[in-house]
Symmetry: C2
Subunit: 110 residues, 2 copies
């Protein structure tokens, strides 16, 4: 049905999935890497850097902002974007806990 049944999962599981989903598109990965490298940049720069149309980049930025991973600051006609450090750190904690789970038994079942 295309409808994820979030109510049958824990809050933690849904949160992991939400973060992962936003990283599940190479354009957003690319935007984030660029923001880490450049520290701050304007929407138009990302359009040139990545090569997708301006509305597409704008939409990806909106999703990243909505999850709190980036900040946007209006500077005249331009909007400056940067990584939201505190939220990025919090996200890392959640994702690391998931990724660094340990198996009780190290040998494979099969």
């Amino acid at each position: 049905m295309g409808l994820t049944k979030t109510e049958m999962f824990t809050e933690q599981q849904n949160q992991i999935a939400l973060f992962a989903k936003v990283f599940g598109h190479p354009a957003r990965v690319s935007i984030l890497q660029h923001l880490f490298k450049i520290n701050s940049c304007v929407c138009g720069d990302l359009v040139n850097e990545i090569g997708l149309a301006q509305p597409t980049i704008s939409q990806h930025l909106k999703e990243l902002k909505h999850l709190g991973l980036i900040k946007g600051n209006v500077e005249g006609t331009r909007v400056c974007y940067c990584i939201h450090n505190e939220n990025w750190t919090a996200m890392k904690k959640v994702m690391s806990e998931f990724l660094n789970q340990d198996l009780i038994q190290k040998q494979d079942c099969c």
Copy 2:
């Protein structure tokens, strides 16, 4: 258009996105957590544990297997699933590099 333009991104960016995408659904997060906890289990157990229909779980398992994160072993009429340790470790390396990027300048742009 609903079509991701993978050719405009680096292989690394596409790989990060592929891994992230598979974690982008709470059912798959839940399956993986359960496999870590139980070490190995049968498809039917996951159906009972999670509460989605059998074809749905089977489909999620297929995606996880396709990415190499789990193994499946036929045992009579049952199929035993477990984490693919080596591939999980390799995935962790790729994802950690992305998540642990450092900002050159610590102060926010805005």
